[in-house]
Symmetry: C2
Subunit: 490 residues, 2 copies
């Protein structure tokens, strides 16, 4: 490929040169949503982070197969092995078939991702659609002696695995120090040790989602699906596994253990984890009263929000932080992002019209172009890349001011930065100028501002003000400048 | 429920009063797409027909569970039991994993349906996600003696079934008269009789989609998924099964036979079939060169198309024919539909502004309202319902002309017809006025037309003409009337 890319590998705690298993091809698996509720900020960050990684890899010339699953069964309350399945519980509360809950929230999740400019993955497998593959995986783990059957359920034997392979390497934990996150509930006694986790759970009589298996009518444990589906669609050894940092333990640790117990190897070459989002400095959670869904953000309907924030504002805001840093949401920070994004796309729109001068240089744009790629290839450093994009914005504004000249090569490269990098890789779109309607609005504004300009030249201030007020009612702000009038949609 | 609804049942060849199995609830299963190519006109008609049926049932107060499947495996070339799986073949040609093909075309199908105003079903199960259920169904059919194992595959024994239950009742065929649509290909000899169809196919070594089963590594026959998934999500006995008339034989006939062989009963209370679409009088098909995808229709990019037709034009056009009639697509017919739809929504937009007079009557609107529901409840007679909607349009236009008066109750009922029936049940939306942008455009037009009105009153014809020409460049046509100016977006 044209450029080297470095990625921070959680497994080694090092930034490593990325080398794919098959030259020119990348297989990437990312843990997707459990579809029992609306997509929230916690979904936006991994959605956008891995979208940018995939867009970058494709831009560099890789053929990428991107698999992101839908968890539609087996994800129990509190991520523990006991309790009620989250989807089944929602179905019971809403008096629906579990798959009606799955359908409803899957569509809403995908709509939210689309709004955020997140491209769909290449394959979107569902846990409930891969029961056969999960049963086959359990059989292998049992055969290798790292699991046991207990009262119709099958559990992974963590202590035995730990002796042979060491459990906890990914998250850097020692078995002795771990506190089990399982609670003492019905069925807890089936486990030999609190460390153990379920591979297959026998269904209680009232449980509505279950399938036949060699051990019982039941359902797979939550961790199993990712081990089964990543191998099915990417092979037992594949390049990149991504997900939120909260999934590192126990989910990814269990995945790694399952892979190793079944196949003698972890299978994942690069483990990548995005950091968490906080809200006004606090962890987001339903119990904290600061749980904000994406729809609430897009519409502004949440007591913590001063206004609505557009999907691109959210995307831009998320990309302004490095994916491995925590990111704090606040109205101030979002409004600053909104302003920055507006400034950015104003320059993008202005670029086509700037004059060139063949006696001038490229105004440093070629170096900016390289700097942007270097930052993105340095473990996806989007904040640094964006700072260089803003240097390109400054170049455009200086040329408009006539305090700087640029040659045609420089202008073409500016357009390339905005088209290939800003839109192509970072996935940011000009919301003001999307679609035919925006063009129509722009055209109508030209007509109205021409009228207003005429009124100004005739010093008909009453008419000028009346037009401005009429436009304000439509949410359009007019700013008068020496050259004429600028407008923006609020 | 508030009104009786009659549906034509293919099984009885009669229009029957619809009685649901469970009071107030309706379970409906419709055969969805095989996702190996772009959605075309042949997908639009069942998509829209069953969408209107479900919307009507919900409007009448039923709680509807609408299941529409995605066929992502097992649909062989020529719909026969032999040959290559359509999805696997596409994957091989495009050098993709079959599930990448499935993902790509599923998303495109759903986008096309969304554009057509077709609501998503309640559950959208995939064949590949229900292999366990399909294997269990085969085991039952084998157990009851209506299938046999042959060289790792399992076939349905049509002659034996015919003796006990009679095969062909749905499509009205006699076994003796049937010509098998299977071709003589590899594996053909595994069948005892050409009538027989595959329940399970042993996978050839090069076949990429296969699962373990008691008989072989293989994959399910195409007809099986609908029998398995309808029972899983709607019960072994359910209300309505829909699909295109081309699916009546062999697909639905085989489904019925599988259900009966496994469970002793057909399970479906009402079989509903929509008729086919022709293009300029000819059957649509890739080999006829008249195969038009929905995207081609929406963009106008097909040699047979004179222009682009909007999704709502297609929807309106389809609803202008009864679902059991054939429907012929032509540029003339589509352009007539486009014109009719414009007229319709002009009246809808005008309705809010019409004056009322309490000395007047309801202008016959209450009767129109009843007539519309009566037509819809009479086996979904959308063309007749639309003719009454157009009578409502005439009422609006006459009131605007001041040749008719209406009281407030009549006006409210007009609004109800347009909101509840036209948009709510028929799913037709005003494409000119969708979204916030449309509101902005409307607001800007008000400002410009006020300017123009002023110019007219000052007899400044040059300015009037200039404004009209500027608007024409944006595709906006202005028509001057006595009361002022009307405008429309081309």
């Amino acid at each position: 490929m044209s450029r080297a890319i470095y990625l921070y590998n959680t497994a080694s705690r090092l930034k490593e040169l990325f080398k794919p298993i098959h030259e020119g091809h990348v297989g990437i698996y990312v843990c997707g949503p459990t579809v029992y509720g609306d997509a929230h900020l916690g979904h936006a960050r991994p959605g956008i982070t891995y979208d940018v990684l995939v867009r970058l890899l494709r831009n560099l010339g890789y053929k990428v197969r991107y698999v992101r699953n839908i968890t539609d069964v087996g994800h129990l309350e509190n991520d523990a092995d006991e309790g009620e399945d989250k989807i089944a519980k929602k179905a019971r509360l809403e008096q629906l078939e579990p798959m009606e809950v799955v359908q409803y929230y899957t569509i809403r999740y995908e709509e939210a991702m689309k709004a955020l400019g997140v491209n769909p993955p290449s394959i979107e497998p569902r846990a409930s659609g891969h029961i056969i593959e999960q049963i086959a995986l359990i059989e292998k783990i049992l055969e290798h002696g790292y699991a046991y059957i207990s009262n119709g359920s099958v559990y992974f034997d963590v202590e035995k695995y730990n002796k042979d392979f060491k459990y906890g390497v990914l998250s850097g934990r020692e078995l002795g120090e771990m506190i089990s996150n399982t609670r003492e509930l019905d069925g807890q006694s089936d486990k030999h040790s609190p460390y153990d986790f379920a591979l297959w759970k026998k269904a209680a009589p009232e449980h509505i989602m279950h399938w036949p298996s060699p051990w019982s009518e039941g359902f797979p444990g939550w961790h199993l699906e990712c081990s089964a589906m990543s191998a099915k669609y990417l092979g037992e050894e594949f390049d990149i596994h991504g997900g939120g940092m909260d999934l590192m333990f126990p989910h990814h640790e269990c995945e790694l253990a399952q892979n190793t117990a079944a196949r003698g190897r972890g299978g994942v070459h690069y483990w990548i984890h995005n950091n968490m989002i906080t809200i006004n400095g606090k962890k987001m959670g339903k119990s904290y009263g600061n749980f904000i869904t994406l729809e609430e953000l897009f519409t502004g309907k949440h007591p913590l929000l001063q206004k609505a924030y557009s999907p691109m504002t959210i995307r831009f805001f998320i990309l302004q932080a490095h994916y491995r840093s925590t990111l704090d949401f606040s109205n101030e920070a979002l409004q600053a992002a909104e302003k920055g994004l507006k400034k950015l796309f104003q320059a993008v729109r202005d670029t086509d019209g700037i004059a060139t001068d063949e006696k001038a240089s490229d105004a440093g744009v070629a170096k900016l172009y390289e700097d942007i790629y270097d930052s993105l290839c340095d473990d996806l450093n989007t904040p640094v890349a964006l700072s260089y994009v803003f240097e390109a914005v400054n170049v455009v504004n200086k040329i408009k001011d006539k305090s700087l000249q640029i040659n045609m090569a420089g202008k073409v490269l500016l357009q390339k930065i905005f088209k290939d990098v800003l839109t192509g890789i970072l996935g940011l779109q000009d919301e003001q100028a999307s679609g035919a309607d925006a063009a129509t609005i722009g055209g109508l504004m030209d007509i109205i501002l021409k009228e207003r300009q005429q009124a100004r030249s005739q010093k008909d201030w009453a008419k000028c003000d009346a037009l401005r007020d009429d436009l304000a009612k439509l949410g359009i702000r007019v700013k008068d400048t020496k050259e004429g009038s600028e407008w923006s949609l609020e």
